[in-house]
């Protein structure tokens, strides 16, 4: 019998520089945003609240497996939700894990999924101020993502321009599950603004758009819904490529966050094979899809793939490109990856540096 036991104290071992490309700061309640909301919206939160394309108003339709979707040990001792208390985040994660920079992805509120677009825009704007006030302004390691309402591009661009010059924000946040596939032209003004300001688009698995997570409707179980994040990302990549977004915006960088990456090679191969036969339908796509994917798309590593044969992780990195992968923890969520144990294969120091920090530093202009 093989016993997989981590005997050594890994934390003592390496002094690895880590850029964590997915951290979730949490607020206690939406009223935490009141300092940045007009009276109208403060009142709206209390009365009509969130209006999204599903039956539950405030909770995702497939309950998760852990309270607050979080590690059981991530509840701050002094109270509050996991991820809500910066000092505890510093103590439990940023400091001991050598985090030089951490990229914030607040998931609530989801202004980007509100049917009431003005409300969504107000929430997004307030969320951005909240990131500055409570997080990036208090720990210089933390960087924010500009929340915008992609379904209302004019408002989104205003919000981007408000913050684009601030080095505390390093990307624009869009949800993969938008009203229409994100490659479509209605979203192009946002990409135009992104490249004008030199900001990547960060797409964390999210969005409540009224479309089901499978082609055959909504699944029964959370395990399925969780897995279908893969389909979300596959659809997104296919749309961006086949709509010609990367032809129109040759300097656009796109980061897929928390969608895994094991699916990337097979999608690239399938796209290439069928594009070769039916490229006359999409003449604006001038090169094989896999080339655009290779050049424009980045993937955070969490949840790390765990192949049956661990050596296959190396093959995945080879096939996707060692320079495309960005380490992330997803702190404080339950499926957190610890930098000390995440890669169950032997990596060279150079490879570790790439994955843990250099790729992210290059993409985001950090360090």
């Amino acid at each position: 019998m093989t016993i997989d036991v981590l005997e050594r104290n890994p934390k003592a071992e390496t002094r690895l520089t880590v850029i964590d490309c997915d951290i979730h700061p949490t607020m206690g309640s939406l009223s935490d945003l009141n300092p940045w909301l007009s009276k109208r919206w403060q009142q709206h939160i209390v009365t009509y609240g969130e209006l999204v394309r599903q039956g539950l108003a405030k909770t995702l339709s497939h309950p998760r497996m852990q309270p607050a979707v979080s590690r059981a040990d991530a509840w701050p001792p002094n109270g509050g939700l996991p991820g809500s208390h910066l000092p505890f985040m510093q103590e439990q994660h940023l400091d001991p894990n050598g985090v030089a920079f951490g990229v914030l992805q607040p998931l609530r509120p989801n202004g980007n999924s509100q049917r009431n677009l003005e409300f969504g825009a107000a929430l997004s704007a307030a969320l951005n101020e909240w990131q500055l006030e409570h997080w990036t302004g208090r720990d210089k390691r933390l960087k924010g993502s500009i929340a915008v309402t992609q379904e209302w591009p004019e408002a989104a661009i205003k919000e981007i321009e408000r913050h684009a010059g601030n080095p505390d924000f390093i990307q624009i946040s869009l949800p993969p599950r938008s009203d229409e596939p994100l490659g479509r032209r209605r979203y192009w003004p946002i990409y135009r603004a992104a490249v004008e300001h030199g900001l990547p688009i960060g797409l964390h698995v999210s969005g409540v758009n009224g479309h089901t997570s499978t082609a055959s409707g909504s699944p029964s179980f959370y395990i399925e819904e969780h897995h279908n994040n893969v389909q979300s990302m596959q659809g997104l990549v296919t749309s961006l490529v086949l709509e010609g977004v990367f032809e129109e915006f040759p300097s656009l960088e796109v980061v897929l966050i928390e969608g895994g990456f094991g699916w990337v090679p097979a999608l690239s191969w399938r796209l290439d094979r069928h594009w070769a036969k039916m490229r006359d339908e999409v003449p604006h796509v001038k090169r094989p899809p896999s080339e655009y994917i290779r050049e424009h798309i980045w993937y955070t590593t969490q949840p790390i793939e765990e192949p049956e044969n661990p050596a296959d992780l190396i093959h995945l990195f080879d096939w996707i490109g060692w320079d495309r992968l960005l380490f992330s923890t997803d702190y404080p969520h339950w499926d957190f990856d610890d930098p000390h144990t995440v890669f169950k294969v032997k990596l060279t120091d150079a490879q570790k540096r790439q994955l843990f920090s250099e790729n992210a530093a290059r993409l985001y202009g950090l360090g």
């Binding site: 016993i3 997989d4 059981a72 957190f336």
Partner: protein
């Protein structure tokens, strides 16, 4: 293998746990209904602290759409990814033949018995008036 005193009886309430360090290793001690269990604290999956985990009854189901908890089995559930390990054997619920959380024998002894030796109590003064929790490691 040596026996180490890790707690006094009564110190760890039923349903809770204590983290100790023995021979340089972090060990999680659980009190489950008055019985004690000891695990190497780091989960074999990704290193989560098992001491912060929970003791749960696993499912015992064969028919889809039915839900029943096992009558006579308990699992230690890791606080991170929720992987479950048999409380007695340490075997992973989902991969019992190749994956195990390392565990150690734990026992209770009276102070009177203990003072006769052998044991190690690095940080514990042992008194004949108390009972103690020991692990063998």
């Amino acid at each position: 293998m040596t026996r180490h005193v890790v707690a006094t009886v009564g110190e760890i309430a039923p349903g809770s746990s204590k983290l100790v360090t023995v021979k340089g290793r972090d060990i999680a001690i659980f009190n489950v209904g008055g019985s004690y269990f000891a695990f190497f604290d780091r989960c074999p999956h990704a290193g989560g602290s098992l001491c912060r985990g929970s003791i749960v009854r696993p499912a015992d189901v064969t028919e889809p759409g039915t839900y029943k908890l096992a009558a006579d089995r308990l699992m230690l559930r890791c606080p991170w990814h929720g992987w479950q390990f048999d409380l007695h054997t340490g075997e992973a619920w989902c991969d019992p033949t190749t994956l195990k959380a390392r565990n150690y024998p734990a026992m209770v002894e009276s102070g009177a018995q203990l003072t006769k030796g052998p044991y190690v109590a690095e940080t514990f003064p042992v008194s004949v008036d108390h009972d103690y929790v020991l692990i063998e490691i």
